[in-house]
């Protein structure tokens, strides 16, 4: 693991905090991208939320009942025997049978039917070939790769889907176990080596829904977030078409210098930029980096300043991230950033 430079962390830490406030603030202001299972945005998540409220209601009644018994026990602590029934042992035994066996059975059997027979089908993964769109989502330490149409379009950390359309997500992993979870849309699915798990994504409305890796996957498990962006179907088709194109050719002199620097440095051995010599597959695909709103799997906003900071010293922002500190000068950093900013 790379140790953060002892002289820099405080400043980086403060700026990192500021970044999170910026990202978080944007989230609150835009009113979407929250992560609560209660503010569900799909029929599947809605079904689970309804189940939750019912379970909470019944649980509250059971809890209140048990507490009532205890309070009665306290109030009548000086009188032996049950209230009303007195000292008949049978009354107390009946209470145990009714509340220990009868009522649990009466509650658990319907619960089993509703949740484990009915709702589990409603939220289950679509059968192969029953959806128009399949997205391969691959978990990496610590970011998400999304591949459309057998890799014709590849992006990272922001997964676009058409709204009101059933989407089949095939979840796999490039390294350790991760778990794909977008609480507002559906339940989670683990990404396990050697397995191709599937989960249904569906969004009632266009919007931006935050998700997060929910299986512990190492140092930066905490900073492995992503967004599912649901768009009107036409807009989605346009986006997908654009994603499948090659990277834009840099227009300014600085950007062209940045491209040369990128291709001749370590950058190109890990990152992929369509139509260029950069063919790495270790890090996120940068072909259309500027179309994304955050960097480093939802850790910082994708602005020029943060992009430069990230290229200069990623280990200060996301300690342990696979991207090394390259020891670039600030001038070099800004040259590369100028290039990346053109990758719209």
């Amino acid at each position: 693991m790379v140790k953060p430079d002892p002289h820099r962390p405080r400043r980086a830490a403060t700026r990192y905090a500021a970044a999170v406030v910026v990202v978080g603030g944007a989230v609150v202001v835009s009113g979407c991208g929250r992560q609560s299972i209660i503010s569900n945005k799909s029929p599947q998540a809605h079904g689970i939320t309804v189940l939750w409220w019912w379970m909470l209601g019944v649980a509250a009644i059971v809890f209140a009942g048990a507490v009532t018994f205890m309070v009665i026990g306290f109030v009548k602590r000086r009188t032996p025997g049950m209230p009303i029934f007195g000292r008949h042992e049978l009354a107390a035994q009946m209470l145990v049978l009714v509340f220990g066996i009868g009522i649990p059975l009466a509650v658990l059997i319907p619960l089993f039917g509703v949740s484990d027979v009915y709702l589990v089908q409603q939220t289950s993964a679509p059968l192969p070939g029953t959806t128009k769109l399949t997205i391969n989502v691959i978990g990496h330490q610590w970011w998400w790769e999304a591949r459309y149409e057998n890799g014709r379009a590849v992006t990272a950390n922001e997964i676009h889907i058409p709204a009101r359309t059933r989407v089949n997500v095939v979840a796999t992993t490039a390294d350790v176990i991760h778990s794909f979870w977008v609480p507002q849309l559906n339940r989670k699915i683990d990404m396990i080596p050697g397995q191709r798990n599937r989960v249904l994504l569906y969004a009632d409305h266009p919007g931006k829904y935050r998700g997060q890796c929910s299986q512990y996957c190492g140092l930066q498990h905490a900073n492995m977030a992503m967004y599912v962006i649901a768009q009107p179907p036409a807009a989605f088709r346009a986006w997908l078409k654009h994603m499948a194109t090659r990277a834009a050719t840099p227009r300014t002199a600085q950007a062209r210098a940045g491209e040369r620097l990128f291709m001749n440095s370590q950058c190109a051995s890990c990152h992929f930029i369509g139509g260029t010599p950069a063919q790495g597959t270790v890090g996120p695909n940068l072909t259309h980096l500027e179309s994304r709103s955050t960097l480093a799997a939802g850790t910082i906003p994708n602005t020029r300043r943060w992009l430069a900071d990230w290229i200069h010293n990623p280990q200060n922002i996301k300690p342990g991230v696979r991207m090394p500190d390259l020891g670039l000068s600030w001038a070099e950093v800004h040259t590369i950033a100028a290039y990346l900013e053109e990758l719209k």
């Binding site: 649990p104 484990d116 390294d175 683990d190």
Partner: protein
């Protein structure tokens, strides 16, 4: 008037004192085979690890006080949260319940003079201590396990965790498991063979049923963990591929093996708490437990059913519904034996005349927390809901209500309850009640909001979280709660420590307790009872005629067995005395054996396999010494 009147029967007591006396001072503690002294060593060791695990919990909560905390680095956080889990499960709760409470109380409750295998009992303790030190050396070096207490592969494989951290975990748990296995065998044999005459199985206290169930569960669950850890170390150290998908292995094999152990483990943690509750409730409500046979059966059933539910930890791994639905159903069924016990406790409190002293208060807290944790547990058996909140803080809330609220509260209540028996002094009731309210409120404030942040989408095992998702306020509240809870726990320890020096003398039976341990002196003599008691009901201490008869038998020298280091053995079902067992006396060999075993595991850790083999040979030599001394003092 200096003439001391010798009570009749005193000559037998003198003889027993001489035969059962152990060595004095530090050597005495090192060589002891007395289950009570071993229990006390377990108690203080487990308490120390509880302190360590508690400090780790406070560090975690401090780091999560607000968004983007900087108390711990990500690497430190991973080690701390892993060690918190490992410590609380393996180094605190199990040793505290089976090691301290079980060891001290079980032979007393069944009227035996010691455990069936006193030296194996001692070696269990020393192995436990060594395994704890083994894993804490890792933390002191900054190389503590860091893949979580569940240690999922491939994150824990050599490829993704190349340093020694995980090897401490793998070898440490195998090492630790030897102690628990030996203890559970010891309990089973003790319960089956050393019960006082007349204590047939249906007259055995419910506390003992709970420990019998726990011992069987441990015995069958631990091999799965040990095998999983052994495979892990073979993979890591010798390049095997048990868990590597790309080489025909399967990472889910680890998860299955781990949870085949891990779920029975939950009941291993909580069943002793049930046992403690069933000891405290009759005493303070002054009535017998309602539905004794059904409660005993439920204790056994919970341990048994606990083996059939493990996949509910794995509902999100992609198994087909046909597989998961069976485990969901089994998880729901386990509600019934739990609910039977719960309402038997509640009905006993309702129909008795409860006196809400500190031990019973902790049991009331336990009942409330067990209901909360149980209800959220039922919710998690609903597969789609589980798949939503799995690995979120909702799950953390659930299992902390169960294994802190429901498993640790009875331990705390039990500490107060048996303090007079162990020390001969009373604790301070006022401070005891204060400590209850402090820990009760602390527990609620710490863990209840976790349900809510979990539903809001907060993921477990994250060293930080961003602002703006609504987690911040509740997390701050949880951290405040954790410190209130810590204050409550410290006040318990302070109360007991001060009372040990200043408390009022307790006498033999300050509570008018229902089980045999209250009939002997406080603290009990090394041989527990001058006369092996005879038993005619599960509430032996409330059969006053039987106890008076014991005193008369002492005068006649009946049932004293003073002519050697002996305890009577009895038949499994009806507890009729059928043999006289010669108990081995104190010995230095158990700690020496444990030390040699520690050598084996350190060498396995460092991959010096031939030196490990050498230490194994040393163990063989120590065992020769161990058995050569045999029965001779």
């Amino acid at each position: 008037m200096a003439t001391v009147i010798r009570p009749r029967g005193q000559q037998y007591v003198d003889l027993l004192d001489r035969v059962w006396g152990e060595r004095k001072g530090l050597v005495g503690w090192l060589t002891t085979t007395d289950h009570k002294r071993i229990g006390i060593m377990y108690f203080f060791t487990a308490l120390a690890f509880f302190g360590a695990g508690g400090v780790e919990a406070l560090l975690i909560r401090t780091q999560l006080f607000g968004p983007n905390g900087h108390v711990l680095s990500p690497a430190a956080y991973d080690q701390i949260f892993t060690m918190h889990g490992v410590t609380m499960i393996f180094l605190f709760v199990i040793p505290m319940t089976t090691g301290a409470f079980g060891n001290y109380l079980l032979p007393l409750m069944i009227g035996a003079r010691d455990m069936a295998f006193p030296r194996m009992n001692a070696v269990s303790y020393w192995i436990y201590l060594a395994s704890g030190i083994f894993m804490y050396i890792a933390l002191a070096q900054g190389h503590a396990p860091n893949a979580g207490w569940f240690d999922y592969v491939p994150l824990a494989s050599k490829t993704y965790s190349p340093s020694i951290n995980i090897d401490y975990y793998g070898w440490g748990l195998i090492f630790n498991g030897i102690a628990s296995t030996a203890t559970s065998i010891n309990f089973i044999v003790t319960i089956f063979k050393l019960r006082a005459p007349g204590m047939s199985l249906n007259r055995m206290p419910l506390f003992c049923y709970a420990f019998l169930a726990v011992s069987f569960a441990l015995l069958f669950a631990l091999p799965s963990l040990s095998v999983a850890a052994l495979f892990l170390e073979l993979d890591r150290q010798l390049g095997f591929q048990f868990y590597t998908a790309s080489h025909g292995g399967n990472p889910l094999l680890w998860q299955n093996l781990f949870w085949i152990f891990g779920h029975p483990e939950v009941y291993i943690i909580i069943l002793p708490a049930f046992g403690i509750a069933t000891a405290i409730i009759p005493t303070f409500t002054k009535r017998k437990m309602i539905f004794f046979p059904l409660v005993a059966l439920s204790e056994i059933l919970v341990a048994f059913l606990g083996f059939g539910v493990w996949v509910h930890h794995m509902f999100t791994v992609g198994y087909p519904t046909a597989t998961t639905v069976y485990f969901a159903a089994a998880s729901l069924i386990i509600t019934i034996p739990s609910a039977i016990q719960l309402f038997a406790w509640i009905a006993t409190i309702m129909s008795g005349t409860p006196e809400f002293k500190t031990p019973l208060l902790f049991i009331v807290g336990f009942i409330l927390f067990f209901i909360i944790g149980g209800l959220s547990g039922v919710m998690l058996a609903a597969i789609p809901f589980d798949q939503q909140v799995h690995d979120s803080y909702f799950v953390i809330a659930h299992f902390h209500f169960v294994i802190f609220g429901a498993a640790v509260f009875p331990i705390l209540g039990g500490m107060y309850f048996w303090f007079p028996k162990v020390t001969g002094r009373m604790y301070h009731e006022g401070w005891g009640q204060f400590s209850f309210w402090c820990t009760f409120v602390g527990t609620l404030v710490t863990f209840f909001p976790m349900h809510i942040v979990g539903l809001m989408g907060m993921v477990r095992r994250n060293y930080t979280y961003p602002a703006g998702l609504g987690f911040s306020t509740l997390n701050a509240l949880e951290t405040v709660g954790a410190f209130v809870l810590a204050a409550g726990l410290v006040s318990i320890v302070a109360n007991l420590l001060i009372s040990y020096h200043k408390g009022a003398p307790a006498g033999n039976d300050p509570w008018e307790g229902d089980t045999l341990e209250w009939s002997t002196t406080s603290p009990p003599p090394p041989y527990n009872y001058p006369v092996i008691p005879t038993v005619t009901s599960p509430y032996a201490m409330w059969d006053t005629a039987d106890r008076e008869l014991d005193n008369k038998r002492l005068e006649r020298g009946e049932g004293v067995f003073a002519l050697g280091h002996r305890t009577p053995g009895s038949t499994v079902q009806d507890a009729e005395v059928d043999e006289l067992l010669e108990m081995p006396p104190h010995s230095i060999w158990p700690p020496v054996t444990a030390l040699a075993l520690a050598g084996v595991f350190v060498m396995l850790l460092l991959q010096h396999y031939f030196i490990a083999l050498g230490f194994a040979a040393v163990i063989a030599l120590t065992l020769i010494g161990w058995h050569r001394h045999g029965a001779q003092p």
